[in-house]
Chain length 140, copies 2
DNA sequence: TATTGTTATACTCTATAACTATA
DNA sequence: TATAGTTATAGAGTATAACAATA
């Protein structure tokens, strides 16, 4: 097997793994009336308050798309908006207590769903996997 | 660090990695007017011809959703439908030559996008990663 | 009656373009 | 003028319910 083949095979596994994890996230989201995108938004806002534009850039979405996403989450009491006092154009977005508690619950469900598979790896292997995934993660 | 923490940390990396790869797939799909779901459909039909219901089950979608997805891809000449002669209710779906060539091109783009990251791993590490991902892949 | 697939409907996600308000 | 955000619009993705055709 050539080096190129080994990369191709790995990419194949990586893509299938991605769809697998995405399936888990999508299912758990759907059970709670949350889309995959909403899940990402909540993951990002867990420990931050961001402006609409920054949030959109983070997710690779248009500002207008963000407006809609925020609208719907705000209507459900999960997110809130606040005007920035030093620049009247800016709107900051952050999670409400309800949003935080939902996020925590969803995190628990995701862990519960994925832990059984990962538990089949030895602790040493888990450490290895964590290390090997680093090159794929977004640069800081 | 406890064993549970190590699993949690790994799940975190796995989810971030998933969003990263999903971002690559979404971007490449969007450049070719293909959604993530369409990409999955084409991945599945690469070497198969499936009935509408089986395709829906495979993707975890409703039959009616499949009808719409197939409609749009058929209108673009990428997929085709055929009646099953032995059961008049069944419709089989398969890729056209145009669909196949598009799939090949997209595969190339995905490889080109992900290879640089993976090339930063040694061949030995790539083999390790491939092995460690197996427990996460859907059972045969 | 049960199964396969489509259609009608409604809602979310998404981008583009046009707009308002602020700087 | 430029930037931040919203709104109007249009199309894709999604599920539910109702339907037609076949078994």
């Amino acid at each position: 097997m050539t080096a190129e083949d080994s990369v191709d095979e790995l990419i194949d596994a990586l893509v299938r793994c991605t769809f697998q994890v995405t399936g888990v996230l999508t299912r758990i989201g759907a059970d709670n009336d949350m889309s995959l995108t909403q899940l990402r938004v909540f993951g990002i806002l867990r420990d931050r308050r961001l402006r609409v534009t920054d949030l959109a850039a983070y997710l690779g979405l248009d500002k207008s798309t963000m407006s809609g996403l925020i609208d719907r989450a705000e209507r459900r009491g999960l997110l809130a908006r606040a005007k920035n006092p030093s620049d009247g154009r800016v709107v900051e977005v952050f999670m409400t207590p309800l949003g935080h508690s939902l996020t925590q619950r969803l995190d628990g469900e995701v862990r519960a769903a994925l832990t059984p598979d990962l538990a089949r790896l030895h602790p040493t292997q888990r450490t290895q996997l964590l290390t090997l995934l680093q090159p794929l993660l977004p640069a800081e």
